[in-house]
Amino acid sequence: MDEANLVSDSGVEPVAAHTVTILYFARLKEVFGRGLERIALPGSVGTVEALREHLRARGGPWEAELALTKPVRVAVNQEMAGPEARVGPNDEVAFFPPVTGG
């Protein structure tokens, strides 16, 4: 996993990469074929909304399942989080369908 600092094209603004743990549950875990991954994110990916977009860029099922029209729920560090919520170094971010317990 590359956690080294990256330098932006301009060479002026240093953009720190940060590593996060991402969890997937229920249908998303099946469709993506994984329940957990640790990935290094560009420093520019600092919110739930940006992370969702970053994952969608993988295409295929990622693009389809994380489309903004899909009712995907997100938790950051085990608290329900909205699109504007911050995602920082070593955060645990979970993506899952609307819950159906009880």
């Binding site: 549950f25 229920a26 085990q78 608290e79 979970a94 317990g101 009880g102």
Partner: protein
């Protein structure tokens, strides 16, 4: 613990006995138990698998219980939710609330269930003759939870 996530079955009578033991302030206990049915969306269901988000589940349920305690003058509350493979007639979830009077016990019990349904990270997968499928969230559950918004 006010909240337990477990694969084992539970005994509501035994849980209530522990909850009310030696507490003469308790005058009312409301209890809800959710069970696995053998039919959903018109199809026979032979098995139900409950998945959850370990870690968050416990915290989410504790938060719901704390919220209930802040809204109503209740004395004790317990939530037990099962995970893993269940069959029709099996118990899934139990919410018990004890208070001085029935009003707050009924209301808090219903509130905890309504919030659990929409906020706690559990997912059901059911096996039907057509194969296995994830249970879809119901808008009526969202509507039930919204009743308590203030």
């Amino acid at each position: 613990m006010a909240v337990r996530i477990q694969s084992e079955d539970f005994d509501a009578g035994a849980e209530i006995a522990v909850l009310r033991r030696d507490n003469p302030a308790i005058g009312a206990i409301a209890c809800f138990i959710g069970l696995v049915r053998d039919v959903n969306a018109g199809d026979r269901v032979s098995e139900l698998t409950l998945e959850h988000y370990p870690g968050m589940t416990q915290k989410a349920l504790e938060k719901i219980v704390e919220e209930a305690k802040s809204r109503w003058d209740i004395i004790e509350a317990r939530v037990i939710h099962r995970v893993g493979e269940l069959r029709p007639t099996d118990q899934i979830v139990m919410v018990v609330v004890a208070g001085a009077h029935r009003g707050e016990a009924f209301a808090a019990c219903e509130f905890v269930m309504d919030y659990l349904k929409t906020q706690a990270p559990f997912w059901k997968k059911e096996r039907t003759p057509q194969g296995s499928r994830w249970v879809e969230a119901r808008s009526s559950d969202d509507a039930a939870a919204r009743r308590w918004t203030r």
